[in-house]
């Protein structure tokens, strides 16, 4: 069991997840960056375990991080929890200054409310025109996020956290395989060196991290998984 650098007790960590979920990958990335050992449990979402249902009765979703038997749910809450509970271990994801923390939280909220939400509609919407509109909104959101990266990094480095991996880097980092899958799936790039150069450079640097190499799912596998989801949505629509 890896010990955190301050030599303190880590306790027992268990992560309930799904290999393809970008939200689960966020949690894995945070744990990996902090050098924390954990037991990973792959869930079958069509047959949810008792542990998952009792640990996350409200959403019945992954990821769930269970630390010494206590469950933490929602990927952004999990990443902040890892930062708080293992504060002595490596650099903090959130900066120290209250204003900079507020800026990071703003962009984390933007990522969820705009980019992730539109993107989710690309996979859940049955109508072609609605799907295309959702994709346009996702790409537009990436354009705005580019300015967020500029604001957060303050010219100090390639990451939202400047020269170190921060909160927004982990939240967006967990999604990288899906970002790369966008082009094979839809023909359009969400992050593009021509239109979002800072984000393109960001993505290159994230992928160089040992932690990212260890946890990011294979892009081809994600493409195949996504095609499966889209086929099921289309089949359900055809039945109605």
């Amino acid at each position: 069991m890896t010990q955190p650098r301050d030599g303190g007790e880590v306790g027992e960590l268990k992560l309930l997840g799904l290999w393809s979920s970008p939200f689960v990958t966020r949690a894995k990335l945070a744990l990996q960056i902090k050098g924390l050992s954990y037991e990973y449990v792959e869930e079958d979402l069509s047959n949810k375990s008792e542990l998952l249902l009792s640990s996350n009765p409200v959403h019945k979703a992954v990821p769930v991080l269970i630390h010494d038997g206590k469950p933490v749910c929602e990927s952004s809450v999990i990443v902040q929890y890892i930062d708080d509970a293992f504060a002595g271990t490596g650099a903090s994801f959130l900066p120290a200054d209250p204003y900079n923390r507020a800026v990071a939280r703003f962009w984390a909220a933007f990522l969820e409310d705009k980019l992730v939400k539109s993107w989710g509609r690309v996979f859940s919407t049955k109508a072609d025109e609605e799907r295309a509109e959702a994709m346009r909104e996702t790409i537009a959101a990436a354009g705005v996020l580019e300015s967020g990266l500029k604001e957060c990094s303050g010219g100090q480095g390639p990451f939202f956290g400047g020269d170190s991996v921060g909160y927004v880097d982990v939240l967006l980092g967990g999604m990288v395989s899906w970002i790369k899958a966008a082009e094979p799936l839809s023909g359009a790039k969400i992050i593009d060196a021509a239109t979002t150069p800072l984000l393109a450079a960001w993505m290159g640097r994230i992928c160089e991290l040992d932690a990212a190499k260890a946890v990011l799912p294979d892009v081809d596998a994600v493409v195949e998984y996504a095609r499966g989801v889209q086929a099921r949505v289309a089949a359900a629509a055809a039945e109605n």
């Binding site: 933490v72 929890y81 504060a87 703003f106 909220a109």
Partner: protein, 233 residues
């Protein structure tokens, strides 16, 4: 507290809209912390002010807290900011202490979840007369959300235990909207979430809440106005 003389280098200004529950979260937190600030009513139904557009160019929405001219946007980020930037302010912190990361995680989870009351409630009143199935879904959702909140509150005085904390501040502004949601959704908060109903009555006794929230009748008038604006029967 609103309108008290302030030092320019620490000046707080809140860009807000009278009925916004997200703005009310901030007003309540500022009052609980005894922090003086200038309240600036924004005209959201007309042309948005230059100050608002400059301060929140991404969303052009309220609330925005300006601290010595620097904007903080997103109501929950503003609440965390008030805790962190003003550690010596009155009252306990909204968030549990850093010594209890698990309690913090729970507070963040439930504060974010409280938004679901507004989301589901909004779907209810935005539905047109003929959308029976969508109405049943929205009703089922809000009933489930209120039930989950009721269970989380349990027998505690507040979601923060003895402390009127982050989740309490995040959720209480939606209370005046509940009678409208009850009518549109044909359900009862007293039946669905009796402990939550009692909590709402307790919160109403706090000065910060009483002074920041509007009566349900005013909120209902506003919903009726919005329905006209959106052309909903």
């Amino acid at each position: 507290m609103a309108g008290e003389q302030q030092q320019p280098e620490t000046e707080l200004v809140l860009l807000d809209f009278w009925v916004s529950p997200f703005g009310q979260r901030c007003r309540i937190a500022l009052a609980e912390k005894g922090l003086p600030y200038e309240y600036s009513e924004q005209d959201l139904l007309g042309a948005k002010s230059d100050l608002l557009l400059r301060s929140n160019p991404v969303h052009k929405k309220v609330p925005v807290l300006l601290h010595a001219g620097r904007p903080v946007c997103e109501s929950l980020a503003i609440l965390a900011y008030l805790d962190e930037a003003f550690p010596d302010a009155a009252g306990p912190a909204l968030l549990p202490s850093a010594a209890d990361p698990y309690a913090r995680a729970r507070a963040r989870f439930w504060a974010a979840y409280s938004d679901r009351v507004y989301e589901a409630g909004t779907r209810l009143w935005k539905l047109k007369g003929g959308e029976a199935r969508a109405k049943l879904q929205a009703r089922a959702e809000i009933v489930e959300v209120l039930g989950n909140l009721d269970a989380e509150l349990g027998e505690k005085e507040f979601f923060g235990g003895e402390v009127f904390g982050l989740v309490d501040v995040a959720l209480v502004p939606f209370v005046p909207w509940l009678p409208s949601y009850e009518r549109y959704g044909e359900f009862s908060v007293e039946e669905t979430a009796p402990r939550l109903a009692a909590w709402a009555r307790r919160c109403a006794e706090r000065e910060s809440v009483a002074r920041s929230l509007h009566p349900p009748e005013k909120v209902d008038e506003f919903i009726t106005l919005l329905k006209k604006v959106y052309g909903i029967e």
